[in-house]
């Protein structure tokens, strides 16, 4: 187990270094922020540009800037935004909870929907209900998330006037974004639950549970569901990356003040401390969750460790 832990940890560290290097390097290829800042500001001399570069710290060699960035990650001091001068850590501190909140609610919505539906599909395998759930799941997989978001706005905000079309406010502002992501996640999760349940339902202990006369709901939800909980938690954990990617897109539709909105604004303004921080923080989060899922899985199921 210790060997497995060390190997998995080294792998995660490698990924973190690779991603931070890649992002820092890539972000610096987007153009000179000093030039962008000066755009429309009349004439500028090379000295003016140089002074800005010194002020921004972009005159330093790449490697020095990268080391500073790594140090900043640890000390939570990621410099200041090039536009407006707000500390990057404060921008992230405001945006990250908004995105994470949405992620967890969407995940919860999809779990509440997909577990009963997946179990229903598995127990009625091959019948009409199963087919219908399968078709609905395919339909959900085919929806462009941002279009689903637009259509919900059209129906619930513009036509019916029930929900606010954008922004983050009270509980009602969470409904449409969370339903958009939740429904799309459910499309995938229903199939995962169905497959996991089908594997479990053939097991002997399920037959025993039925034979001793337990009610069907007890057999399904207590015995079968518990036994396929581990693979399901793993799948749900590994989905986190895709979920964050989806939220970044629909944040644009709902004007949600999260990481996606922050990133798009930063791209437009060549605000690379912000862009770099957003991408790094989100990637670190995903690496961290994948690592936790793997370790948890390794703890519970010894066969994984030898992989």
């Amino acid at each position: 187990m210790v060997g497995f832990l060390i190997k998995r940890l080294l792998q995660a560290i490698f990924v973190v270094i690779a991603i931070t290097l890649l992002v820092s390097f890539a972000v610096r290829l987007t153009g000179d922020p000093a030039v962008t800042m000066f755009q429309g500001g009349g004439s500028m001399t090379e000295e003016d540009l140089m002074r800005i570069r010194v002020a921004l710290g972009t005159d330093q060699p790449f490697f020095v800037q990268y080391m500073n960035f790594l140090k900043g990650l640890v000390t939570l001091d990621l410099g200041k935004s090039f536009t407006g001068g707000t500390p990057v850590s404060r921008l992230i501190g405001d945006a990250l909870p908004a995105t994470l909140m949405l992620a967890f609610i969407s995940m919860a919505v999809s779990i509440v929907l997909s577990i009963p539906l997946g179990i229903k599909a598995a127990t009625s395998k091959g019948k009409g209900v199963d087919q219908a759930i399968r078709i609905f799941s395919l339909l959900g997989l085919s929806f462009p998330n941002f279009w689903l978001a637009l259509m919900l706005v059209l129906l619930f905000s513009i036509t019916l006037g029930w929900l606010p079309p954008s922004g983050m406010g009270g509980v009602e502002s969470y409904i449409m974004p969370a339903v958009t992501m939740g429904v799309i996640l459910t499309a995938t999760n229903v199939r995962l639950v169905r497959t996991a349940m089908l594997d479990t339902l053939n097991a002997q202990y399920i037959m025993v549970a039925r034979a001793k006369g337990l009610s069907e709901s007890k057999v399904l939800y207590k015995h079968a569901l518990r036994n396929c909980a581990i693979p399901l938690i793993t799948y749900f954990g590994l989905q986190f990356g895709g979920l964050l990617g989806g939220i970044v897109v629909i944040e644009r539709v709902f004007n949600w003040p999260g990481m996606g909105s922050l990133a798009f604004d930063a791209v437009g303004a060549r605000d690379y401390p912000v862009l770099q921080a957003v991408i790094t923080v989100l990637s670190l989060l995903i690496v961290g969750i994948n690592l936790l899922v793997d370790i948890a899985y390794g703890l519970v199921d010894p066969r994984i460790r030898t992989e």
Binding site: G126, L150, L198, I286
Partner: protein
């Protein structure tokens, strides 16, 4: 070998009929868009700006605020989606399958490279990679395709590598090697035909997926040039007019949904047909 398990009766399934019909109808309409709509997507009918759908035969899906026919634009916009969907998948398959074969057959250095790339890719959602990439090189048709290839080849490499690892120890490969068959021949003549099934399934599903990704990128203003008619671009425009003209946003989205659904149905059907264990599970 994979195709030997294929039976003609499989063509009777609802999934295949629905999937193939959707895909064929959409592809044919999009390919014939110039014939179907002479004058095309850019023709402006000033007298009929913001015409409502289903009211005139001239503009069955209505017109946008500039007086352009929504139906003609939806059909023409499909060219971008299909072009991006198919070329990006072909690019990723060629590179990914080659890397997977090398990694699985020779192991060692290339194997490590592929697996580490897979780790990185797993930790970086496509949209984040896209934001970084597009911020550097700018959004365009070619860059969108390149981006999709860069982010997806690993999927094929991993899939192929996995199959090669189990296949290379099988008797028919060992005996081919024993009688002195050259490496490239073993790889292309003996290994490749045996692992092509899952690759085709993944390709079909990824064409669908890439159409979705391209439209999201273009919707966000980071994909294809917004002046070219494309589904994502039309939706970005339509979003501004959602309150006064719902049809400008509804029809392009519906086009994406139906195209992707058709391809997903086909991919799903192929997976069941090519995978014998999947068949018993049904």
């Amino acid at each position: 070998m994979a195709f030997r398990t294929f039976r003609l009766s499989r063509f009777n399934s609802l999934e295949f009929v629905l999937g193939a019909t959707l895909t064929i109808v959409i592809c044919v309409a999009v390919l014939l868009s110039d014939v179907l709509f002479p004058g095309g997507a850019e023709k402006i009918d000033l007298m009929a700006r913001l015409a409502r759908p289903f009211t005139t035969t001239a503009h069955p899906f209505g017109t946008d605020p500039l007086g352009r026919d929504v139906l003609a634009r939806v059909v023409a916009g499909g060219r971008i989606s299909l072009l991006v969907g198919f070329t990006s998948v072909i690019g990723a398959v060629v590179f990914g399958v080659l890397m997977g074969l090398v990694a699985g057959y020779y192991r060692g250095f290339w194997d490590m490279v592929v697996m580490r790339f897979a780790d990185i890719q797993l930790a970086m959602p496509f949209i984040l990679l896209a934001i970084t990439f597009i911020a550097i090189v700018g959004g365009s048709l070619t860059n969108t395709i390149l981006l999709l290839i860069v982010s997806q080849w690993v999927q094929y490499a991993r899939l192929v590598r996995g199959s090669v690892l189990t296949l290379r120890e099988r008797e028919f490969i060992l005996s081919a090697r024993a009688i002195g068959v050259k490496d490239w021949r073993i790889v292309f003549q003996h290994l490749l035909p045996n692992l092509i099934g899952p690759v085709i399934v993944l390709m079909t599903l990824n064409v669908a997926n890439n159409i979705l990704l391209e439209s999201s990128l273009t919707f966000l203003g980071m994909g294809v040039d917004p002046t070219i008619p494309s589904w994502g671009g039309m939706l970005a425009d339509g979003r501004t007019y959602l309150q006064i003209a719902w049809w400008v946003s509804v029809f392009p989205g519906l086009a994406i949904l139906l195209t992707v659904l058709g391809l997903n149905l086909l991919g799903d059907w192929l997976r069941d047909s090519l995978d014998p264990t999947g068949r018993t599970a049904r």
